[in-house]
Structure formats: structure tokens, C-alpha cells
Symmetry: C2
């Protein structure tokens, strides 16, 4: 019997109380059994997002929320600026181009964060840019872009909105939607929210709603105005993903019990001890700056295939991490510390990495990474 | 303690074995834990759809599958023919128009089925029509359109595809995708499949794939060609709705154990006893012809508000049925016999209807409807 551990950056483990709530007999979505749950979940999302804006709840993966965040705010041939520093930055570009937008890209070397100055310069050069699209945490590289600094640049412009993919950052990073002035922010269920995949969330500012009025791209399934109207009646525009929304409500209650500040601190600590542990055993981080609190991307040592590390962790030790995506495939492996995670998840992961690397011929002092973690925890 | 009964046309009750499988710890979608499950579910869907075509599995409500079935096969200004006989027929029109298609409608009076001759005549008159869009079971009226006859008309034309919304018909009606020649057929998880909302399914014929090659409407989230390529590797294009697909696999196993013919017979019998019971207590069916096996729509008696019947069933007896939608609101109420349902679900519903109608002042012989059912069952 191989006991299973899930440390991939989504889906992440589901909290047992959430799983239990989701296992009750299903109820009807347009009924008084369900509307108070949706009401509570929508208010909880506003709390988590730190916003008074509407936060829509869509039945889709996070990518669906990203697509809606393009099709609801722009018209064909509109100009947008995409920060492309990884696989999900690439996705913004692909979505925008598939809808006929003119995309200008700031390409960021994988493993690095965007320099906000470059965004300011691009916007100055082209006043017609209507949207800036960026990831908060770029899951493919383990890098966090400085959303606060980027917000300050974009909010000065009346006709440009900031659209943030916070799918893996939500819960892991303290992102102050209203205080910073983020116009559109996308979240997903299967990351920090401790839920199965199937829901995406989108917060929308007044400024963005005004742009939505003029947007001409075709939309039907992700129709934000209609979702907003439905949400005001504690409904969704189409059938609600009842089970997942019940889980969402439970998840938020758990996060509220912990307290927002503690939630962020926990993720910061887990990310910190992960990085220090892997560095102490002689590994190098893939993220050269601004590492994410959601996921740590680690370079496979010279001569060892990252996919081989991933595969051995999985097959021999029952630990599901993630390999590299796109051009990082084979070069890196990634460990998430996201959602229902604590220090012992990291100790398990680091201990297994030590054993796997030793087996694969990497010179390592067994127990070194784990001792690094223990020392860091006791020093606190 | 009010015991709850769910007899609405989606979500429908979830089979306990399905619920139990969905309650296990979550697994990663791009892993060898999950790919055999997806492989089994996709083959199971082909069995259920009676097709050798690909059946895509999308993370969305059924409407998402409908939207994809428009955006993947047509280009702006293409002409389509929509059979509009209820709220979901209207939805086809709205989707097509939101994507800039030219829609010709055959309006069918609510409660009636389309005359296939009218479709043939429309197609003859306009050889440019590239698609015929229709519901199998129109959930809002409880009517089943004759998909077999419609298929025979459309399949004679090389440049027209038939797109069927079988969201509530799947499992409840014997629809022979390949034998009849249906090009695109949409299903959803929360109806006959005994699953929560969150998945849609789309089968696609060779003829439809050829049209997809020329289709220019924008698409990204519902990109069928990419889903097909992913499915060949037992993956989905974006994050898989892991939990729901695990449930799907279990549901199909249960249906396979029962046998396809028995599944259809059960739904036919439940629909039949429902109709006979409500007629025997003096109620009139809303569907004047070709009633659906999935849901029975019943006219509220003269002077009694259909919503009042719905509400009393729910509040006093714990039974969730459905009221009328759109222009049928207040005039009808609807009972589903779909998915995890047997004769005693119908006996409960009919017994409660008898009591509610008596309370609302409708002259009724208590027990009459239930006795009708018992007699019908024993006669078999």
C-alpha cells in the first residue's frame, strides 16, 4: 500500500470538512435551500478578495475565467499589453489573439519577474492600449509579479484596465483588490481554495464594468453582465455548480476561522522553508527573483532529468508533485504549498526529494533539508 | 425534520455509489492515477451515446457544450435553422445570434413537437443553411422532438449538420447517434447521469469535424479540436474536473450493469405511470404530443397558480419539483423521472400532489393517482 500525497499546484488536497459538505445529497440551485449558501459564498469571496466589487462565480476551470475576462471587456482589434513570463502568460496572449485582439507582449525571461517600469514605458508609448494582462503567481515558473506596483501604473490611466490571473496566487498572496485598484481578478477553485476543479471567480471594478458596456466581442457562456444580475438574486446565469459552491462556502468558512492574515503568513512560511530546505541540500531555485508563495520551482541538478525526479517521487514514494511545463519540461520540478498544507507536507516532500536525489546519484547529505526546516521553525 | 426529495429536471439525485467515489481524496489530472479513469469514462460515454465518434468531456454546464457546438462549426454570418419550441430552443437562437449567425427559426407552439416536414421544406428553400439545431427533450415543455425523423432529413444534405441538445434526453431516451446519423450531440452531467452539474459532453461526427476545419468563429475555452487531441492522450485540454469525471465513470458503470435497453425501458415506464396518474386525478398534461421520458409538464388546474403548487410541495412536503419557465411560469409545474429514480419516487410525487391539490381546493379523490400507478405496475 503506497500512501498518496498530493503536492502539485492544483488540484490541491481537499479539506475533509469541505469534502464532507460536498458529499451530502444534492439540492436544487434555484431553491431556497441553495440561495442562502450562494449568498454566503459570494460575500465570503468578497472578503477573501478584499473587495466590495462583485465577484462572479463561474462553472469552468480557471482558464474559462480568463477567457471571460477578455471577451467581456474588449472589441475586435482592441490593443492589449500582455506580460508573458511563462506558460500562463503565453495563455493570455493566445486567448487575446484567438479573439482578434492586437497583442503587444512584454516578454519576461522564465524565472524572472516583470520590471514595472517596462509596463509604464509601453503604456506611455501607446495610449491606445486598453488592457494590461498579467499573472500574479506564474505557476509554470514559480514567480510572483509585483501586482501592487503594476496596479499603481495602470490605475493612473482612465482607459486602461488591469486584468490579473490570480488563479494560483489567491489565498497564497495578500492581494488587496480595492486598495491597489485591480480591475479584474481571476481565481480558481482547485488551488488555495482546497476545492476540486470546476469553479472560477472573477472580480470586476466599476472602471471595468464601464468598459464592458462598450465591448463587442461575442460572449454567451461567460456573460459577466448577466452573471452579475443573477448573482444579485443569489443565482448564477446558468445551472449552478451546486456541489462545488457548497464546498466553496465551507472552504471560506475555514479560511475565515484561520483569519486572512494568518492564511497569508502560513503560505509565506511554507514557501520560505521549502526554498531554504532545497537550497541547503544543494539545489537551485528556478525562480531567480520574487518567488511565489504558492509553488516552488526547482532546477533539476546538472545531468538529472527533472521528469525522472517527478516520476520517482510519484512511483516510489506516492508523492505527486509537478514537472516542468512548456520549455521548462525536463529542466525543473515543482512543489506546491498551497491550500490545505502545513509544515509536515513540506517535510515529507523534502525528505522524499533527498532520498530520490541520493538514488539518482546526486551527492547529498541525507536529512540536511529536513533539519534546515526544523531549525527554521524552532527559531521562529 | 422534513425529509427531502428531489424530483426536478436537474440537478437530479446522485447515486450513493457515485457520491462515495467522488468523496475520496482528489488525484492529479495529468497523472497515471487519473488517465485510466478518463479512458474508461470516454469509452463509457461512447457506449451510452451509441457512437464510435469522439465524445468530448468539457468542464461547464450543458449550456457551455451548446455554445461550443455553435462556435466550433460555423463562421460569422453563416445561416442556421433553429427549432424553437421552448426555453432551450430559444437558447439556441440566442447563442447563434450572439455569435453573429443568421438564424432562421421554426417556431413550435410550446407543448408541441416540430413537424419534420417543416424542416425539410426550410432546407429545400434555403440550400445555404449549414446547421439545424434542435432539442431532443425540450425540458421547459416536456416534449420530445422526433430526432430520428429529423436526422433522416439532415443527413441527406452534404453541407448541413444536425446539432442536438440531448442534455435532458440522454439516458432517458434511446437516441442512436451513429445509426441515425447525428452530427453533434450535447449532454450534461446533472440529468440522467446522476451527477452534480459541472460537465458537458459533445459527440462529433466526421461530417461535423470537416465543417469545424473551416469554422472561423472565435473559440478558446471550448476548442473542440484541441479537446479531441487531448482526449486521445486521456487528458482534457485544460485542467480536468477530476472529481466529476471520477463520478462519471462510476455512473456509467452503474448504467452498464443495468443495461442500456433496461435504462431506457425504466425511464419510459416512469414517464408513462406519471402521465397516467396525473391524468387520472383530473390534471391535464402540458405536452400535447410526444411527451418526454425525462420530465412531465403538468398544467395547473384553472384558478390555481402553478408556482403555488410548486411551493407547497416544497415547503410542506419537502419535495423539490420545478415550476414553469419563461412564458409557462405560473401555468405549469414539472416532475422529473430522470437518472436515479424508480416507481416509488413517482408514488411519492403523485401522493403529495394529491394532498396539495386537495388543500388548494381542487376536487380530488385522494389516493386515485397512486392507485392508477399500482394498477399499471401490477398489470405488467
Amino acid at each position: 500500500m503506497l500512501k498518496k500525497y498530493l503536492l502539485a499546484p492544483g488540484p490541491t488536497p481537499i479539506h475533509p470538512e469541505v469534502l464532507s459538505a460536498m458529499s451530502l445529497p444534492i439540492i436544487h440551485h434555484r431553491s431556497t435551500d441553495f440561495t442562502p449558501i450562494l449568498d454566503s459564498a459570494k460575500k465570503g469571496l468578497q472578503w477573501l478578495y478584499q473587495t466590495k466589487n462583485d465577484v462572479l462565480i463561474l462553472c469552468s476551470t480557471g482558464t474559462g475565467g480568463m477567457v471571460g475576462s477578455v471577451s467581456n471587456f474588449f472589441s475586435p482589434h482592441d490593443k492589449v499589453l500582455v506580460i508573458n513570463g511563462g506558460k500562463f502568460g503565453e495563455r493570455w496572449t493566445k486567448i487575446c489573439r484567438s479573439y482578434g485582439l492586437q497583442v503587444q507582449e512584454i516578454e519576461v525571461k522564465w524565472g524572472y519577474a516583470v520590471k514595472p517600469d517596462l509596463i509604464e514605458a509601453s503604456l506611455k508609448k501607446d495610449p491606445e492600449i486598453k488592457g494590461v494582462l498579467v499573472q500574479a503567481s506564474e505557476t509554470s515558473t514559480g514567480v510572483y509579479h509585483d501586482i501592487k506596483a503594476i496596479s499603481e501604473i495602470v490605475k493612473k490611466r482612465d482607459n486602461t484596465i488591469l486584468i490579473v490571473d490570480a488563479i494560483s496566487a489567491l489565498v497564497a498572496h495578500d492581494i488587496k483588490t480595492d486598495q491597489w485598484g485591480i480591475d479584474v481578478m481571476v481565481g480558481g477553485s482547485q488551488k488555495g481554495m482546497m476545492l476540486p476543479p470546476g469553479l472560477s471567480f472573477v472580480s470586476i471594478s466599476e472602471k471595468a464594468w464601464k468598459m464592458a458596456e462598450k465591448a463587442k466581442l461575442p460572449k454567451f457562456y461567460f456573460h459577466f453582465k448577466k452573471e452579475k444580475e443573477a448573482l444579485a438574486k443569489n443565482q448564477t446565469n446558468f445551472t449552478s455548480a451546486v456541489t462545488l459552491i457548497i464546498g466553496l462556502n465551507e472552504s471560506i468558512k475555514l479560511l475565515q476561522k484561520e483569519g486572512l492574515e494568518n492564511v497569508f503568513k502560513r503560505h509565506e512560511q511554507l514557501a520560505h522553508i521549502t526554498r531554504e530546505a532545497v537550497k541547503s541540500i544543494g539545489l537551485e531555485l528556478f525562480s531567480q527573483e520574487s518567488p511565489s508563495n504558492a509553488v516552488t520551482a526547482i532546477l533539476a541538478p546538472e545531468g538529472i532529468d527533472g521528469q525522472k525526479i517527478y516520476k520517482t517521487l510519484k512511483d516510489k514514494y506516492g508523492i505527486t508533485t509537478a514537472g516542468g511545463q512548456g520549455k521548462a519540461k525536463g529542466k525543473i520540478f515543482r512543489i506546491a504549498h498551497l491550500g490545505y498544507a502545513d509544515i509536515f507536507d513540506i517535510i515529507i516532500a523534502v525528505s522524499a526529494i533527498e532520498m530520490v536525489l541520493a538514488e539518482l546519484g546526486f551527492p547529498i547529505k541525507l536529512g540536511k533539508g529536513v533539519s534546515t526546516i526544523e531549525k527554521l521553525i524552532l527559531k521562529k
